[in-house]
């Protein structure tokens, strides 16, 4: 595997503690009291959504994955870039500290991938203003979802790359810090050191490999298959909607436009490469006018073009498989390239 983040963040000191009580909820209360903007999963009917919460009671942690990804905390669906009238009135930057509570390993890795896109080379000041104030409190996965395949990317669902990691093992709440920010945060809580037996329990939990799907990526084959009729076959039932890209934790495409003529706001909003208008040029030429070209683009973006940044842009969360209305399956598609 190409990715090597996981071990880097574990260096130096790590504190491993046990918390008596509901750590996740207490963490939210603590963060809110200290003025953080907190994003956490909220239960709506039968499913969970990451949302900004105003109290710990709103959050619920009984899920495999929330339906949307945690990227909304650093890359919101829409944001104001500039307020203008006759000239620029204001450039709003995020001032508040932000926390995501309840993020899982896949979404946590995705934020590292978004960092590469938004912070390496050209630095996106809006993303940066959120990212540098971000604290992540992750939970480990007990079991995988039907379409999970994060382990294919060297992600350990039992060891998320976050500031603080919470594991619920055998009725006990293990709380570990993996960064300075995480350590500082944990100093706010009454924790006790884990005992020898408990340490063994945690280590076994972390080492266990989960039974999940595996994606076979053959970059050489991808390189040669760009003109293959395979993509037309794969896309025959594609509806060209934005579900896959909007639920994807690593998709980062956006559009910028102005709302208001004499006085108004310049807005950045999510956009999807699956929409025909995404690539419509003002000459009226569209380089990806056909849906199969757009679908192919999504797969090449994630598994070939993205390699310029050093990584595949997929974390194996499986949301695009679960919610594709046409049943297009990224694992089958990439594993079956010809």
């Amino acid at each position: 595997m190409r990715t090597s983040h996981s071990s880097q963040s574990l260096i130096c000191w790590v504190i491993k503690m046990i918390y008596e009580g509901d750590f996740l909820k207490d963490a939210i209360s603590n963060l809110l009291a200290r003025g953080y903007k907190v994003f956490a999963p909220v239960k709506l009917g039968d499913f969970h959504l990451f949302r900004e919460v105003k109290s710990a009671e709103e959050a619920d942690f009984g899920y495999i994955l929330p339906r949307n990804s945690a990227k909304i905390a650093v890359f919101p669906e829409n944001e104001v870039l500039i307020k203008y009238s006759s000239w620029i009135d204001e450039i709003p930057f995020e001032e508040t500290r932000i926390a995501i509570v309840g993020i899982k390993a896949c979404d946590a890795r995705a934020i590292k991938l978004l960092d590469k896109h938004f912070l390496e080379g050209f630095v996106d000041p809006y993303y940066k203003s959120r990212r540098e104030k971000l604290l992540t409190v992750a939970i480990t996965c007990e079991e995988p979802g039907i379409n999970c395949f994060c382990q294919s990317f060297g992600i350990n669902p039992r060891k998320p790359e976050a500031d603080v990691v919470v594991s619920r093992i055998g009725g006990k709440t293990f709380v570990n810090a993996y960064s300075d920010a995480g350590k500082d945060f944990l100093s706010e809580f009454n924790l006790r050191n884990e005992g020898e037996e408990e340490a063994r329990l945690r280590q076994n939990f972390e080492r266990e490999t989960l039974e999940m799907r595996k994606i076979e990526i053959d970059v050489e084959k991808l390189k040669k298959s760009f003109e293959s009729s395979y993509w037309k076959e794969v896309a025959v039932n594609c509806k060209s909607c934005g579900v896959c890209t909007y639920l994807c934790p690593t998709c980062f495409c956006f559009d910028i436009y102005d709302e208001g003529e004499k006085k108004g706001v310049r807005i950045r909003a999510w956009d999807s490469c699956q929409f025909p208008l995404h690539t419509l040029e003002s000459s009226s030429h569209n380089p990806r006018a056909e849906k199969w070209q757009r679908l192919r683009n999504r797969f090449y973006d994630k598994f070939y073009y993205a390699l310029r940044k050093g990584d595949y842009y997929c974390v194996g969360c499986g949301r695009c498989i679960d919610f594709c209305p046409a049943g297009i399956d990224i694992v089958s598609v990439i594993s079956g390239v010809r």
């Binding site: 959504l49 339906r67 949307n68 039932n237 509806k239 579900v243 436009y257 009226s284 046409a326």
Partner: protein
């Protein structure tokens, strides 16, 4: 011969070069739609998890096509024929008298999907063939809510029918709860729903009747052409911004639904596709009721609703 064998046999007999039917999805118990040729006929299958509507797929195929269609699918196909989007003579419709489909999301709450190998209906029960052994659950527990109010479970158009014809329901009791609300309560209810919308446009993209190449809600330059001046381009008509907020989202959904007056086939693809679980069918159902009760239009009429409105206007 069981249902699946009958379907395969009829598809074979049709002699059509291309077949639009359900095949098993890799790694999951549900089926997905595929475009197949005669040599793939053994891949064809059907179960209460064959939920999708094939009508939209038909519009991109030329020549003779054989298609497997449930009641609501046939409604959509007939509507598209009415609107000149499909040609009846190009289609061989294997109609399925439908008992309703399973709500996959409901099923996933009851059973671990990765344990289920196969699903079939037996009387009032769903039989789940599991990795280990078999389980039975009442169909009523997992049936899609939309199917409970289906008016046309038997296809209204077909070349061959599989199963016995069934009666549908004609009432709108599913709307009672919403209709009883005060205007303010109803507004609050809908805003709280629309607030979740992420505008992925899946509801529009899967809808067999949303076939416009340019949609009025797209924040695009509808008037763009190589001849457009810079000024034209700068002042294009934009009904909605790309921002996601409850009121813009409400406008998107209301505009979309209004364009389905007297057309919606009731398949429920919009609701199934919605990753945010918006109750979109309720909007369509209300419209259906108004079209029926206020305008006296019946979906079975040969003349499209909008054309009839024009005639009434004269």
């Amino acid at each position: 011969m069981n249902e699946v064998e009958k379907i395969r046999e009829e598809l074979k007999k049709s002699g059509a070069e291309r077949i639009v039917a359900f095949v098993k999805k890799e790694n999951e118990p549900r089926e997905v739609l595929a475009v197949l040729s005669q040599k793939d006929i053994d891949k064809v299958t059907f179960s209460p998890l064959s939920v999708n509507n094939p009508a939209k797929l038909l519009m991109q195929l030329n020549g003779k096509v054989a298609v497997v269609a449930k009641g609501c699918d046939a409604m959509a196909i007939r509507q598209l024929i009415k609107e000149g989007k499909l040609k009846r003579e190009n289609l061989f419709i294997v109609g399925i008298s439908c008992r309703g489909v399973i709500d996959y999301r409901k099923l996933s709450k009851i059973e671990k999907l990765s344990e289920i190998r196969e699903v079939r209906l037996e009387g009032e029960e769903v039989v789940l063939k599991m990795r280990n052994g078999e389980k039975r659950i009442p169909f009523a527990e997992v049936i899609e809510e939309n199917c409970l109010y289906c008016e046309h479970p038997t296809p209204v158009i077909y070349d061959v029918l599989i199963g016995e014809a069934r009666e549908g329901r004609k009432d709108f009791s599913d709307l009672e709860k919403l209709e009883k609300m005060s205007r303010e309560e109803r507004w609050e209810y809908w805003i709280s729903q629309f607030e979740r919308c992420i505008r992925c446009h899946a509801c529009r993209s899967v809808c067999p009747l949303c076939y416009c190449e340019e949609c009025i809600v797209d924040p695009s330059n509808l008037a763009i052409s190589p001849m457009s001046t810079a000024e034209d381009k700068a002042s294009y008509p934009r009904l909605l911004g790309k921002t996601v907020n409850a009121k813009d989202n409400a406008i998107y959904h209301i505009i979309r639904v209004l364009h389905h007056a007297g057309r919606c086939s009731g398949c429920g693809e919009c609701e199934r596709a919605c990753p945010m679980e918006l109750p979109l069918r309720k909007l369509e159902r209300k419209l259906e009721k108004v079209v029926k009760e206020v305008f006296g239009y019946d979906l079975n009429e040969d003349i499209p609703f909008f054309s009839k409105l024009d005639m009434l206007g004269d």
